[in-house]
Structure formats: C-alpha cells, structure tokens
C-alpha cells in the first residue's frame, strides 16, 4: 500500500471517529444515553470489536499465527477463568493470560531447557 494511501485511510478513520465525538460534545447533557437505539449501537460495537479481536488472536496471518493454536486457546481460556474468578478484573486476567502465553512461547523455544 502506498504512503499516501495510509494517510487517506488515517484521515478517513479520524473522520469516522471524530464525528461521534463531536456529536457527543454537541449533545452532552441534552439526550438520554439509556435509549434502545444507544443500546443497540453499543451491541453492534461489542460484536464488531469482539470478532475483530478473536480474529487478531486466532485467525491472523501475522506472527501470532505461527503460535500453536493450543497455546493461544490455553492462554485465553486461563485468562478468562481468572476474569470470571476475580469479579471481572481486567488487569489481573490480562496479566495472567499474557504471562502464561509468554511462558508457553519461551517453553516452545527451548528456553527452559
């Protein structure tokens, strides 16, 4: 992809995010944020982001794709178990899941002998 194409995409991404920020600034204090429309929009966002992140971890063609799927499943699974056991603490579950992922990667590389 050319240099100018990156900046066109970047400006497009900026516009697509800023429009909601500007709308929020204009509407602040004037609209109800607990309406059905807002809840639906939030759901679309949750579905999109969750799907993209699952793709980035499990269906990527980048370097993460070279890690055995079993290792990724174990790290995500244990991290989620910690998430549920710690009343949905993101820092604790991210730390445990990522540390386990790193430990498995070191183990695969023969670091532990």
């Amino acid at each position: 992809m050319s240099d100018s194409a990156v900046w066109v995409m970047l400006l497009a991404a900026f516009g697509a995010t800023f429009v909601w920020r500007a709308a929020g600034a204009v509407l602040a204090g004037r609209i109800r944020v607990d309406s059905a429309l807002f809840e639906w929009a939030g759901c679309v966002s949750y579905a999109l982001v969750a799907g993209l992140m699952i793709r980035a971890i499990f269906f990527t063609e980048g370097p993460l794709g070279s890690v055995p799927v079993a290792d990724r499943i174990i790290a995500v699974g244990v991290g989620f178990a910690v998430f549920l056991l710690t009343r949905r603490s993101v820092p604790k579950s991210v730390s445990v899941g990522t540390a386990l992922f790193a430990a498995l990667a070191f183990w695969r590389s023969g670091f532990f002998g």
């Binding site: 990156v6 991404a13 920020r21 600034a25 944020v33 679309v44 993209l52 992140m53 370097p63 991210v94």
Partner: protein, 242 residues
Amino acid sequence: MTIQADRSGWWQGLTDAVRAPGIALGAALVGYGAQAATNGLDVTAMLAAALLIWALPPMMAFTELYSAGASVSALIISIGLINVRALPMIVATLPLVHGGTGFRLWHLLLAQVSSPTSWAQMELMHGELQQHQRAPYYFGFCAILITFGLVGSLIGFFLVDDVPTALRLAALFLTPFFVLLMMGTAKRRPGQAAGICGAIGVPVCIDLIPDFGMIVGGLLFGTVGYLAGSLIRRFEERNITS
C-alpha cells in the same frame, strides 16, 4: 498555606494520571505499537493514528484493516460503527468537566482527548474538585494518559524486533486480549450477548464476505445479541418479580 491549596487543577490531574492510570494505558499501547509495526505501518502513521483515533478498539481495528487492504469505504463504516460507543461516553463525561453549559468549540478538544479512563476518573473526582478546577484537571490528566500511551506504543513499535521472539509474540497477544476482556466487562445482558455472538460470528463473516464481512457480521451478530440479551433480561426480570 498547605501544599494541597497550592496545587492547581492542572497539576493535580498530571500527578493523579502518572500513577496506575497512565502506567496501565501505556502498557496496553505497547501491544498496539507492536501490532502496528507487524502490520506494516511506519512510525509516523502509527503515532498519528494513536493521536487522531485515540481509542484502543478502533486503533486496533485500523491496523487490522490496513494490513488486510480494506477499502476506504469499508474502513469508514467499520471504524464509525466501532466508535459509536464513544458517543454515550462523551455525553456522560463532558458535563462533569464543563458543568453542563451550552456547546463551545473548545468542547471538541475535550471530546477528542476523552477515554474510558478519563471518564471514570472524572466520575471519581467530580465531587472533589471545584468547577474552575475541573477543565484544567481533565486536560492535565488526559495529557499524561496521551503521553504515556504514545511512549508505550513507541516502545512496542521499536522493541518488537529486538526482544526475544517469545516476548514479541506476548506483546502482540496482549492488546487484542486486553480489548477482548474489556468487551467482557459489559454490564448489561444485550452487550454481553452481542460480544459472544460477535466473537463467534464476525470472523466467519469476514472469511465468507471479504470486503464487507466485518460490517455485515457486526450488524447481524450485534442485532442478534441485542435481541437475545433483551429476551434474557426480560426473562430474568420476570423471574425476580414473580
């Protein structure tokens, strides 16, 4: 005169952010920087994307869409849909900062630098600060978050090739896992259901419909999650009342 009385809102915002909030955000953006380098962005574009988008889910989506060679129209729709969630957050945050006055142009700057962390901090500190201290406090707090975030992303970007492969892979794993878990903190049933439906269905849609699979999948599985979650919530409320 006490030290507390001498401290301006700006300075207090800076010092409050230097602790856990700034460090946590910086750590989260290490993975973004590593991902951006891996996906072929140069350092200027990576920093510009962080500053201009300034929300981790669309930033991660941007690097993924860029590496996938998505069209500009698909990018605008996808990023726009992902960042709809910024609107209610900003609607909730800004009155805590400017006190609910009418719209002014500088409120756009307040909106651009806002994040879930700064919203949570303003909820926490709103009662502790006098009105004239709130905007300086907010800008000071956000300035540190942005600084730590950019430093974290630079660390990820430049160290991704210089650290052992295992650590590089862990950095690439950290941020999508962090964002995924953030989706798991949804308080309402429809949001939880949509996250689960999207995690399963959206990757399949992307494979089936290369150009617009993400948008179709997001709309489809977000709506399915919304309807399923609403039904579950209604069922639970009926059980509680009966």
